[in-house]
Amino acid sequence: MKFFPLIFSACFFALSRAITDIGMQNFVKGKTHTNNWAVLVDTSRFWFNYRHVANVLSMYRSVKRLGIPDSQIILMVADDMACNPRNPRPATVFNNAHQHINVYGEDVEVDYRGYEVTVENFVRLLTGRLTPSTPRSKRLLTDDGSNILIYMTGHGGDGFLKFQDSEEITNVELADAFEQMWQKQRYNEILFIIDTCQAASMYEHFYSPNILAIASSLVGEDSLSHHVDPAIGVYIIDRFTYYALEFLEKVTPGSKDSLAQFLQVCPKRVCISTVGVRRDLYKRDPNNVLVTEFFGSVRNVELFDHVLDIPVCGIDVVGSEGNKTIDKTLTDSPGMKKRGSFVYAKQLPIHRIS
């Protein structure tokens, strides 16, 4: 990747927010997913790749802020920049030299870290072919109603993305992995975003339906970094992600920004590379898709006016044998019956605070 020694150019561009409230009802009606997942991958390590970690944490920050719970975010970070001894501001990762946004935030739950970030683990995660001992937090437990945001960043070339310093994932493997997910009905729609050099080559081979792919650069182009932080001494974020984050910061869980607006987030004059989009696999019009359908977690809700008319149970004692299905957690409080009310210890000053 080539670095452009352009220091933080102040060309903030006005985001076109033309979409009005009219479309809202249609959006909700056209909603096809029931839950949201995010797979965020930073594939490169070492201090000089600080910006890739900042990239992936920017996305993490956004999806978490917009409502995807940590249990549904798979974060793969190949190196720990926040705790790197070279970091002049420990436990922080900033998206710009003026420390506007600390993308490391308060709590970051990294699911795959350091040398766990491998091609094999990534493909296993996508295809679900994990060893039985893999914990739930490291699994992509999606179903046919899941919208998945997949964001990747690192050093890429024509047709591959480098993982760590030793291996790379090719576009064919990635396409095959998506096909296997589709065949098993493990996603509803995928938004694939990749910020790397020649990024468009990574989505060339996709053949599974309902994938919208966005790449920070076309084949033959380099994806460029945004600016250097002199205190850190390296480039701290990539251009595409920088502007994407700037856009996402303005999105709130209830806002109506469409995916079409997100596609315009980094025009060539600020990105320098051309943002590539592959739409042919995606059936819906990005104008009618909300950004929060991928970056947020807006649930469906149903209200009922009546509950089941069941008689009051438990007056006649139900036989207590066959207690197998009720877990032990219920039974481990023997003092439950005796204890009428909870008493709080005096030393807890809770009552004085509020």
Partner: protein
């Protein structure tokens, strides 16, 4: 060796012949030993899979056979007419048998005073097995029981339906069809439908139901954001035992549900309700609900098991927000102060009485267990597709007596819907496995995976037969084992062993490996051929 034979000149025929033999020897060794060894060591191991059986089974007709016995039909034409009306569906097939009522049945009919009593007596008289239905046609002398209940058709608590001889046939048949299976499961049985293809209410239904899996984890969470004001005494264990345990143990043969409970302190839902002066409570508009659970989701705990989990949250509102009521989009409060999140669970807002002015904190509060558990059961029945009959005129549905259990036909309907869903899943899994194996040549199929697949296919076939024959219990059993095996095969870690080793990389590895060996051999073979060609014209000259 190649250079040796290159040096050989015609003058020394012997040495050149020797060289040629040597070259030929190398070539032969390379072809006879080298190639097979290379082939054997680099082929992807693939256990034999029953491709054709999978193909056969996926095209087999899928319908649920249900035997329906008509008892006491007034005439032969009645049951024939019924059969004709029941025929329209592709995914259900009724086997109608007809018989006259027996003596003891007639006696019981006469003594029954109400429909409840009638149902109780009749189901005691005739045992109707799982997966079947019985339709009792009441003689005219007894039809006054139904009239008293203001109904033309009565659905019993087990697997009985009562009607009079002059019943409206389309109403009866559509009722029977709805009882047997819900419309979504119907669609699933017909073909491979993804969410995108479904429309309207079917899509809503599909988006609501939890994926069909062998087991579920249910967590009951009591959220007390201000434990310093409110001290809640709620015996969750007793509530679960009283209300959920009968339900869970009833479902034992269909699905395993395990229940846990927890109390979460100092955590509030992220809501910003507004004071509604007309209703004298805080109004939580419906528009806020989709985002309410996001904030607490991380705190609801993590699970060891990977099977689907359902959450039911009982929320005690904060003091400065209570009483809190959910308002519909038209501004009216929701009668049951709760909402359901499809495929996730439900949230109930439990208001507590306002303490007296000088009450000591924390003050004790009792929870309404009945309301909480009734709501949980309502949501749970919606999430698992328990069949539901829309209330219509002239149809009386008796709910299960005295407890929270499901009625016999509801249980059967749920089992059938799950069998349909399992069958669709198994087909998708095995077909896509076969397709992927064909498409991706590097996929290893170990013997273990092969074993899973063979097992799954066998059980699948059994399940299809059992489903068609209406043996619901067996079908459920076969389907769930087949599903587990098919999934185990599909998600087996070994399926990925050589996956990220595409063909272009193969050439990159093999070319440098084989080129240094094969170039000298090929070059020396050229010499051998040259020698052979030279020898043949000499022979012709001699002749």
């Amino acid at each position: 060796m190649g250079s040796d034979s290159d040096d050989a000149k015609e003058k020394d025929m012997d040495s050149s012949r020797e060289g040629a033999w040597a070259a030929a020897g190398f070539a032969v060794v390379l072809v006879i030993v080298g190639l097979p060894v290379w082939w054997y060591t680099t082929t992807v191991y693939r256990a034999h899979l029953p491709y054709s059986t999978i193909e056969d089974l996926s095209h087999q007709l899928r319908y649920h056979g249900i035997s329906l016995s008509v008892i006491g039909a007034p005439s032969y034409t009645f049951s024939e007419d019924l059969e004709k009306h029941l025929k329209s569906s592709r995914s259900i097939k009724f086997y109608v048998t007809s018989r006259q009522s027996e003596k003891n049945e007639r006696e019981r009919l006469k003594t029954a005073l109400s429909v409840e009593e009638l149902d109780e007596k009749m189901s005691a008289a005739t045992k109707i097995v799982t997966g079947t239905l019985a339709l009792f046609i009441l003689p005219d002398s007894n039809s006054n029981i139904l009239d008293a209940a203001d109904a033309k058709i009565v659905v019993g608590r087990h697997r009985n339906v009562y009607a009079t001889a002059d019943v409206d046939m389309p109403t009866l048949t559509s009722l029977l069809k709805n009882m047997v299976i819900n419309s979504l499961a119907n669609k699933k049985a017909e073909g491979n439908k993804v969410l995108h293809d479904l429309k309207g209410s079917l899509r809503k239904e599909a988006m609501r139901q939890v994926p069909t899996e062998p087991g579920y984890d249910v967590t009951l969470t009591l959220m007390i954001p201000e434990p310093h004001f409110i001290s809640v005494a709620w015996n969750a264990r007793k509530a679960v035992e009283d209300y959920l345990k009968p339900f869970v143990s009833q479902l034992e043969s269909i699905t395993k549900i395990s229940i846990r409970s927890q109390v979460l302190y100092m955590t509030a839902l992220s809501v910003s309700p507004m004071w509604s002066s007309s209703y004298k409570h805080f109004a939580l508009p419906q528009e806020q609900l989709p985002l309410t659970i996001n904030a607490i989701e991380a705190k609801l705990g993590s699970y060891v098991r990977t099977r689907p989990s359902l959450h039911f949250v009982v929320y005690i509102p904060k003091q400065d927000q209570s009483p809190l009521h959910i308002h519909k989009s038209d501004g009216t409060p929701v009668e049951e102060n709760s909402f359901m999140v499809p495929r996730w669970g439900g949230v109930m807002i439990h208001n507590t009485p306002v303490p007296e002015a000088n009450a000591s904190m924390p003050y004790d509060v009792e929870l309404d267990t009945h309301w909480i558990m009734a709501t949980v059961l309502t949501h749970l029945q919606k999430l698992l597709p328990v069949p539901h009959i829309k209330p219509s005129e002239g149809v009386l549905v008796l709910s299960a007596s005295k407890s929270c259990e499901l009625t016999g036909w509801e249980l059967d309907g749920l089992a059938r819907a799950r069998v349909s869903s399992y069958l669709a899943n198994i087909r998708i899994t095995l077909q896509s496995l076969c397709e992927l194996v064909g498409e991706i040549s590097n996929m290893v199929i170990s013997d273990e995976v092969g074993g899973w697949v063979w097992g799954a296919v066998e059980e699948w076939g059994e399940c299809l037969t059992a489903t068609r024959e209406g043996r619901l219990k067996e079908a459920t059993l076969y389907c769930s084992t087949s599903f587990i095996q098919a999934d185990a095969a599909f998600f087996h870690p070994s399926m990925l062993a050589l996956l990220y080793f595409p063909d272009n990389q193969k050439y990159a590895i093999y070319v440098p490996l084989f080129l240094p060996v094969s170039i000298p051999v090929i070059l020396s073979l050229k010499v051998v051929f040259g020698l052979y060609r030279k020898r043949t014209p000499i022979k012709i000259k001699e002749d």
